[in-house]
Symmetry: C2
Subunit: 206 residues, 2 copies
């Protein structure tokens, strides 16, 4: 029997969850247009975390695929990428947005951003964020063209498409429904929307 | 008139230097086979540092080229990439090697590594390293093939080839003559060698 619990990542906001080894997490692109920046920290040692640059090294790919074992900066398996109903291509190259990005883009006022969403979401778990770890940008497409140019394009996910991972260690996962309305990657229409997360026990005792 | 000072990055070891705004730094691949992991931290705020994921975002390329302005995680210019006599292609995708990498590769004993070299080199400057920032892997080639595979190949630099940058702010630059003998990226013959750094004042008062 399965048991599950659903959480909302509110539009432009963050969420963090404690995920136990063996639990599955589905990140749902409820409306199809929303990028979800995703992080995972070992519960035991929060300086051990899902690392894009270590996954790229070991997997020898910039894009991760179902079946891939995703590792920490200590080369420990932290998430198994189990399923993807979206067209895939989830970006691993680009920084989380931050207040400084919006200032760089010409904004004068405070703008909600994935860095602050991460900081606030993981604070109750005792995790302090210094330099922002590179996020796994679910549903974000930043393909490299033949010329070498990184292109920023709208997500091609359908409403309800999801990415599923299984925790390979007890961890804190954090998500940000990216508030960016500047790059086209997040739908490009200026409206961040809700996304959802389902925490799933697939093999709970009958 | 120019004034200059030369430093040795000993084979498999690290080096850090204080570099003032306007000074030029040449990283020399003295024997042509040596990868040099490179970092730069703002002297004023050492949590502001050269960031691969922010440079890729703004430059829209995974490979940086002469003329590029390289930025920090706060979107501030920190280095201008002024010259490259090597064939280029300096990797921005792959993590610095660490003790955990060598354990993952089957080693049992302590192995010199770029992470520890960074930690030790910047300690005298009051910089503490938690999660290792992604290095700019000078002279390291990790091209992405058409299949999407990241390939690891030997450096194609000639002895004496160099990369030159100009500091756009006062900063601490750190270097590691990578001790890796597992991947072919570092020459692949199991012998890390010395590299050199020249700190250059091009427009000093005559």
């Amino acid at each position: 029997m399965q048991s599950s619990k659903q959480f909302t990542i509110e539009a432009g906001k963050g969420l963090a969850l404690s995920v136990k080894k063996g639990q599955f997490v589905r990140v749902i692109n409820t409306y199809g247009t929303q990028v979800v920046d995703t992080w995972a920290f070992s519960e035991e040692d929060t300086e051990s975390l899902l690392s894009m640059e270590h996954c790229r090294e070991v997997l020898q790919r910039i894009i991760f695929e179902p079946g891939d074992q995703l590792i920490t900066n200590r080369y420990q398996p932290i998430l198994k990428f189990t399923e993807d109903t979206s067209p895939g291509g989830h970006d691993t190259l680009i920084a989380a947005c931050s207040q400084e990005m919006y200032i760089h883009a010409g904004r004068k006022e405070y703008h909600a951003n994935c860095r602050d969403n991460l900081i606030n979401a993981v604070k109750p778990f005792g995790i302090k964020i210094g330099i922002t770890p590179s996020p796994w940008n679910l549903f974000m497409l930043a393909p490299i063209r033949e010329s070498g140019l990184i292109d920023y394009v709208r997500p091609t996910s359908k409403p309800g498409d999801y990415v599923e991972v299984c925790a390979e260690m007890d961890c804190i996962m954090a998500f940000s429904a990216c508030p960016d309305e500047i790059y086209p990657t997040n739908g490009g229409d200026g409206t961040p929307v809700d996304a959802h997360v389902i925490l799933l026990n697939k093999n709970s005792v009958k």
